[in-house]
Symmetry: C2
Subunit: 353 residues, 2 copies
């Protein structure tokens, strides 16, 4: 993808780079998910991890929303904890993810490997290759969890409300924390690079729980490792999207991280964020996923509002401010994509006026 001349690149990639587009591109986090009947059908044949690890099925659900809605990008179906399992930690999914042997100290961190993606996560790469054959003209996004979010799962042993164990670990064992996060950063770099090599045209780093941190803690304990990953991706030439959900006090630092695009959740306002990032990055977001539960006319008005607020951004990729929820009516998702397709803004380079 990165070899394409800029003028022929799909609008999603052009928006990532802040280049002119005919209209605002759109894709939706968790677009391959439970709200789709065809996803539920495939999912009923296997477990969640089984779906992640069967390339044909993972590819099939990845392609489903692209075919149904004509969104401007696909995102490979997988889970952010796949590399964590590959590092050597047992992983099961019941209600949510569960890591029955959580990290308690240096000994546990020392035991973790930095896995070879082809050897340990080949199923993700195979799925990517299938998707590329099936929908060759739609850019495919690869992804990984940010080191902070991955570490929080590894230390808590699953989801958490207050991230008590994670923060105590960070505060009391700072050196071990830094060893762990460096190891995670190296693992993620290899994993993302392999995804690009298999055919991904962009990558997104999900820092789903970073919003639990103070500005001070985020800058000290989390962001440096995300930057390590961004640096490790630079020579691939693919755009890097960073979605640090809930982090709203660090736009300046995030916009100087080397990321091409910042994801914005629905609690921030794109015009305010655009002013804070001062044209250094494009923005992605940020409709409240719950908006899709309300009337269609309201969805249309909210899309208009967001398109207006995004005018000040260097580039804009429409998305929800978080993953689409399982109970979302499919026809409301369709209405969202239709509205962005109809109302999305064209951007021309300022110097060509």
């Amino acid at each position: 993808m990165s070899g394409l001349p800029a003028a022929d690149a799909p609008r999603f990639l052009r928006a990532c780079r802040g280049e002119p587009v005919d209209r605002t591109p759109i894709w939706v986090m968790r677009q391959a998910g439970r709200y789709l009947p065809e996803y539920r059908e495939v999912r009923s044949r296997t477990t969640f991890l089984g779906l992640c690890k069967t390339p044909e099925l993972a590819a099939e659900v990845t392609v489903q929303p692209v075919r149904r809605f004509g969104v401007d990008a696909g995102i490979i179906f997988s889970d952010i904890l796949v590399p964590v399992e590959a590092m050597g930690m047992p992983l099961v999914f019941d209600e949510g993810p569960h890591l029955p042997e959580p990290i308690k100290g240096q000994v546990d961190v020392d035991k973790l490997g930095v896995p070879d993606p082809a050897e340990k996560m080949g199923f993700v790469l195979d799925a990517i290759r299938i998707v590329r054959r099936e929908i060759p003209s739609t850019p495919l996004i690869g992804f990984a969890g940010a080191p902070f979010t991955l570490a929080s799962y590894m230390i808590e042993g699953g989801g958490s409300r207050n991230f008590e164990k994670t923060k105590v670990f960070m505060y009391e064992h700072s050196r071990t924390w830094r060893t762990l996060l460096s190891k995670l950063a190296r693992t993620v770099i290899l994993h993302l690079r392999a995804q690009v090599e298999a055919g991904c045209a962009a990558v997104q780093i999900f820092d789903s729980w970073a919003g639990s941190l103070s500005r001070d803690d985020y800058l000290s304990f989390a962001l440096p490792y995300t930057i390590e990953i961004i640096d490790g991706m630079k020579d691939t030439g693919v755009p890097v999207i960073v979605f640090a959900k809930g982090v709203h006090a660090c736009w300046d630092e995030l916009s100087r991280s080397g990321a091409d695009v910042l994801g914005v959740d629905w609690t921030s306002s794109l015009d305010q964020v655009a002013s804070a990032v001062a044209g250094r990055v494009s923005l992605q977001g940020n409709l409240d996923p719950l908006t899709l539960f309300g009337p269609i006319e309201r969805i249309e008005r909210q899309v208009q509002r967001i398109l207006n607020e995004a005018r000040a951004a260097r580039g804009h990729i429409f998305n929800l401010g978080h993953g689409i929820l399982p109970e979302t009516p499919v026809e409301h998702m369709a209405a969202l994509v239709e509205t962005v397709r109809r109302e999305g803004r064209s951007r021309v380079p300022k110097d060509l006026g």
Copy 2:
């Protein structure tokens, strides 16, 4: 309290109003709570609601942290759902609050009363009178939930993750939503005014779940009703503190709401907020409650950081960025109060230099 000449007023009240103080005052949200052994002892004698409704016991736990730590303000022990029960909705506490007959539409809203506080919530007022006799020189804070947060409990029937029912209600039944929130605002005004009359020197409005809303929705569906309450308190002369947890994109509007103080959670930075509110209000906050689980030297450094960041504020009341957690070591809470007492800044009026 409001009758005192300003020069004799306690530092907590002076900081609320942006007046000179000898040092930064401190109190802590949920300071009367489960982390205290003497609280657990009293709590073991009755249920949670029983504790709220027995004036002698509610007063006793209110006074406990003031006596133990010498914090600069007390806050009456009660629950934000007490007025909701008084409006006519059954309320039980098991793990958390549970409202077995949630609001589904206009009929349910019409059935709700606007209760006379003396008649239906006299136990809160009695507890306030006892506390005032026990610790007459410490300002006592009265409180209530903001209409948005109360409505979310009433519609969800308890706590919630995504506030699905609340938002769908808001979007689909906007008129009924507005009737409900007006009724809540009137109830809260009467309840807060009664608390002031019984002896409270300031009031705090908790909008614990407002952070789930987009800026657009917060300004349209929530803030107007909080402003209604602030307006309804103006002639009492007591400072009004608004804590809209997680709302970080509306500092300008909040600072023009008529509130005297804005609570700030730990994910925002006081220097950034101070610059956004431009001296119109004082700020309260904002140590991450989890910091108290870490080493004491780190608590001291974080206190210093927050005191420094708060220099730009009109006035600063030290607090956590959310309620203190039940598992907090008591000696770490003591260290926090000690550190603020030792390091808290004095402020002199600029024109007296």
